[in-house]
């Protein structure tokens, strides 16, 4: 998929979002008696978003908007992998706790960034994965007294 | 976990029953471990300060053989903290204080646990509302207010005690009162002092310092009689309006509370409320009025307060049925 196609797709999504905002705004109520209601501002914001997105689509189709950036395959793969890894982290946190979660997340992200590991690199990452949760336990849970999400083992 | 807690409690109850059932609260078996007071809001707010002061006074009076720990569980307008407490069914080691969100958050549908899911313990202080105008206001006494067609006042959030009182006053006096919702108590005070709203309704803690500085002028109070701190200011009732509404500083526990634990805390809080430490550290500092209500009476107040909020929120269209 080219950047231009993504640009049009994104503008299209924003256009639909704009319409959704307007549609809901009407439900919330444009005016309450003599004063603007909960739907007043969202209505105008939704209209603005719809119109601006329409202009963005037109500019893209007519070639007025040219983009330099590209979605290179490697970069996109890495970004998506990290996104997926964090998503898994969020889903697993209630079961394994945040600190265990980060200990597992660190090597995964390191693997995405550098798939070929030397022994030395692996040792460093392992050390980080072990030291980081401990340091964060002291920094967040002890020093700042934040109740981190804990796993069944109590950390 | 829950089973073991119940077991401990049963043992505790049996132990105290065997001890003749006459054990005093200090030497009784009940508090076997530390008690936690949950604050469903962040540190530094009204609920937090109230809970921490209660904990301090209880420590100073040596009421508990164990510690009373204060724990903040903020988020979702109190829903997270109150839900946590409501789920500790029968656990006599959890307490929480009552706030406006205690009623409004479940009414808005943001929490499945309402006041009926808690055991009322006691109210230990009362905070009245003072109607005040800024020093430069043309309204010198409440009589000056009676002549106008319309007034504006401020509130923190859409549903609050000032909104309730403003509605009551509007219905009783026939004056149109529009309430402007602000984001914090500081903004309401700014609007009142700057003359952007006609009057404000606030607790003594915020209003009295301004009155003493001569920047605000009191017109009426929301108690049945006059306040000790403002003997010259009439109450709404004296002025001929059937308006009486105050905020009770109260404590609740999880549902299905064993009678033993409830009695223990009811009398413990009575000792707090009647102590000079409480007067010095809370009442004098936050300018609240002394008041004690036991479990049954406090429960009735919770019921009637909830009815008031339900009515006003239906009027505002916030409760969808």
């Amino acid at each position: 998929m080219t950047t231009t196609a993504v640009d049009r797709l994104f503008a299209g999504i924003l256009l639909l979002l704009g319409l959704y905002i307007v549609w809901n705004a009407l439900e919330y109520g444009y005016m309450r008696g003599t004063t603007p209601g909960p739907g007043f501002f969202p209505l105008w914001i939704g209209l603005g978003l719809t119109i601006l997105s329409a202009i963005n689509i037109i500019r893209s189709v007519t070639g007025a908007e040219k983009l330099d950036a590209t979605f290179d395959a490697t970069g996109l793969y890495k970004a998506l992998s990290i996104f997926a890894a964090i998503t898994v982290f969020i889903l697993l946190t209630p079961f394994i706790g945040m600190l265990t979660g980060t200990a597992l997340l660190i090597p995964v992200i390191a693997f995405v960034l550098r798939p070929r590991w030397t022994l030395r690199f692996a040792a460093t990452i392992a050390a980080i994965a072990l030291v980081f949760p401990v340091a964060c336990h002291y920094l967040f849970a002890v020093y700042l007294q934040v109740p981190l999400v804990e796993g069944p083992l109590g950390f | 976990m829950r089973a073991s807690k119940t077991l401990v409690l049963l043992l505790a109850l049996t132990a105290s029953a065997c001890g003749g059932g006459n054990a005093t609260e200090e030497s009784g078996a009940y508090p076997l471990k530390d008690v936690t007071m949950i604050v469903p809001f962040g540190a530094g707010g009204g609920s937090d300060v109230l809970s921490r002061t209660i904990a301090n006074v209880i420590r100073e009076l040596k009421i508990l053989p164990v510690s009373l720990l204060v724990e903040n569980r903020p988020g979702s307008s109190g829903a997270i903290g109150y839900t946590y407490v409501a789920k500790q069914k029968g656990n006599p080691y959890t307490l929480a204080t009552v706030s406006v969100s205690f009623f409004t958050t479940p009414l808005l549908g943001a929490s499945e646990f309402n006041f009926r899911n808690f055991t009322p313990v006691a109210a230990i202080a009362m905070s009245p509302y003072i109607m005040a105008v800024r020093e430069a206001s043309p309204y010198k006494t409440f009589d000056d207010v009676k002549k106008v067609r319309r007034l504006t006042t401020g509130t923190v959030g859409v549903v609050s005690d000032p909104v309730l009182l403003a509605r009551m006053l509007q219905n009783a006096s026939g004056i149109t009162i529009d309430t402007v919702p602000f984001d914090g108590e500081g903004e309401v005070m700014t609007a009142a002092l700057g003359g952007h709203i006609d009057f404000m309704l606030g607790n003594p803690g915020e209003i009295l310092p301004q009155i003493e500085a001569g920047t605000l002028r009191p017109l009426a109070v929301s108690t049945a009689g006059r306040l000790l701190s403002l003997p010259a200011v009439p109450s709404f009732k004296e002025l001929g309006y059937p308006i009486e509404h105050v905020q009770l500083r109260g404590v609740v526990m999880p549902p299905d509370m064993p009678q033993e634990a409830l009695t223990f805390w009811e009398s413990a809080l009575r000792r707090v409320a009647e102590s000079p430490e409480w007067k010095r550290e809370y009442l004098d500092r936050f300018r609240d009025e002394p008041r004690f209500l036991g479990s049954v009476e406090f429960g009735k107040v919770l019921e009637s307060t909830n009815t008031l909020y339900t009515e006003i929120m239906s009027e505002l269209g916030l409760i969808k049925r």
Binding site: G29, P38, D68, A79, M98 | A43, V49, L193, R285
Partner: protein
């Protein structure tokens, strides 16, 4: 000059070992919560309140306030080095600070952030001492009407921050304003655009969006670029702060400090919005506005001076009137009450020693922060030498824990991740994230201002031009929009060939 003498006496009183220790602890905690992405001064002061109250008296308040202005110093570090705003008021520092770091000038940018924070702090403290009472009285004139006008003026300046494509800039602005409307409507009460999620009832915290939109997206985008080889251009020399920059930026430093001080005094505006306004005016009235956004040293100087100065301004309503104007000062108010003081208009009169001692501790804390951060710069700037394969896993871990720590909510982590993904797409498609965060901060303030005003006036619009302050800001707004258009017309007319 009597207030300055009182301030001097306060500084002397604030040098007792107890107060020095409390101030040091405060600024250290402030630096940490500032540096950590997500968690900021509001959460920091709330967390430390019970501990600080244990110090008692002036030491308690000195410690708590230290967290507030200490966070302003710390926030710049993550913003510059990683492109992740350490806390909400440092979000504007990311724009130029991180661009400089990517160019290999991390040390220079960090150095400027320290000078700027210090100068903004000094200006803020001196103005706090000299003008507290009159400025506090003037702030009372800012009701909903005046707030609306101020926000219109602020939004008119946004046009200069829209990025390359102005239409996409406005699209991002509208998107940000919409995100700001998610949650319980603060004026009428119903929930808006929560998609049924209870976690969205209280709205979306600005910092969560800012960290995701800038921080995570920056990481995502940089994955596509080949970073090896780029690192070799760094030299240790580039990591040293540069005194010449200070001379170059002196006008920007003073101007930004003043703008954000006087805007930041108004209860409800907050240091983030005043920093945005200071940055926008600095760019707008710069001789060379195009350099802003591309790694300009002035783009670091402006927001850093501004957020420090605003942090002291925010304390004026608290100390002079007993009014907390922001979440952080509300915690300070709780602290005052818990150490047994009665905040209110009489605090200056009844407890002058206390107030001036606390102000004196600000001065000392500011000095401590300069020393601490100057010593830390070479260490911190060295981060650029760490390979991303080591750095990013740690940074992502800190972001996740830091965002969680704001409200102790995993839902915030999810929102930050989504914001990061959207930010990644936006950066690729040349939508600037700056207007989005501006809309998120200013949009709700504008909406609330308008609706509150019209409740007061029963829908009568004339209230907007009956207030002289509001009228003034509206005229300024018109000027900001119309003058450049008129100038363009004149220039175009002059450029016409004479035969026409």
């Amino acid at each position: 000059m009597e207030p300055l003498i009182l301030l001097g006496e306060g500084i002397v009183r604030a040098t007792t070992p107890e107060l020095l220790l409390a101030t040091l602890i405060g600024v250290l905690v402030g630096l940490v919560v500032g540096v950590l992405p997500g968690i900021g001064p509001a959460a920091g002061t709330a967390i430390m309140l019970p501990v600080a109250v244990g110090f008692g008296g002036a030491a308690a308040i000195a410690g708590l306030a230290g967290i507030y202005y200490g966070a302003m110093f710390g926030g710049a570090v993550t913003s510059i080095l990683l492109g992740i705003p350490g806390d909400a008021p440092s979000v504007m520092t990311v724009i130029d600070g991180h661009a400089m770091a990517k160019r290999g000038e991390a040390g220079r940018a960090l150095g400027m952030s320290v000078y700027a924070s210090f100068i903004g702090g000094v200006i803020g403290i001196v103005l706090l001492a000299l003008l507290s009472v009159p400025v506090a009285q003037a702030a009372l004139a800012f009701g909903p009407t005046e707030m609306t006008a101020l926000m219109c003026f602020a939004l008119s300046l946004v046009t200069v921050l829209g990025g390359r494509n102005i239409i996409k800039g406005f699209t991002a602005l509208f998107l940000g304003m919409w995100v700001g409307m998610i949650g319980l409507d603060p004026i009428a009460g119903p929930t808006r655009y929560t998609f049924g999620f209870v976690a969205l009832f209280e709205g979306i915290e600005f910092t969560v969006i800012a960290v995701g939109l800038y921080g995570l997206s920056e990481i995502f985008v940089s994955l596509g670029q080949e970073t090896t080889g780029k690192l070799e251009r760094y030299s240790f020399r580039s990591l040293l702060p540069n005194l010449r920059d200070l001379v170059e930026c002196k006008a920007v430093l003073v101007w930004s400090s003043l703008v954000s001080f006087f805007v930041g005094v108004v209860p409800g505006v907050g240091s983030t919005a005043s920093t945005m306004l200071a940055y926008a005016t600095a760019k707008k009235y710069s001789k060379n506005p195009d350099e802003f956004g591309r790694g300009s040293i002035k783009g670091v100087a402006a927001p850093e001076a501004a957020n420090n100065s605003a942090s002291y301004a925010a304390m004026i309503p608290l100390f002079a009137l007993g009014i907390p104007g922001s979440g952080t000062t509300a915690v300070l108010l709780g602290g005052l009450l818990m150490v047994g003081l009665q905040p209110g208009p009489l605090l200056f009169a009844t407890n002058p020693d206390f107030v001036w001692t606390v102000f004196g501790s600000f001065w000392i804390g500011n000095m401590m922060l300069v020393v601490l951060t100057t010593l830390l710069i070479p260490v911190l700037a060295g981060i650029v030498f760490i390979s991303t394969a080591f750095l990013y896993p740690i940074v992502i871990g800190l972001v996740l824990l830091g965002v969680y720590s704001i409200h102790y909510a995993m839902s915030d982590v999810t929102i930050a991740l989504i914001a990061g993904a959207i930010g990644f797409v936006m950066l690729k498609l040349d939508y600037s994230p700056v207007p989005l965060v501006l809309g998120l901060v200013l949009g709700p303030l504008l909406e609330r201002g308008v609706r509150r005003t019209l409740i007061v006036s029963e829908g009568n619009l004339s209230i907007f031009w009956e207030s002289p302050i509001a009228l003034g800001f509206f005229l300024l707004t018109l000027g900001v929009i119309l003058i450049p258009i008129a100038m363009k017309r004149v220039a175009a007319f002059r450029a016409l060939p004479p035969s026409l």
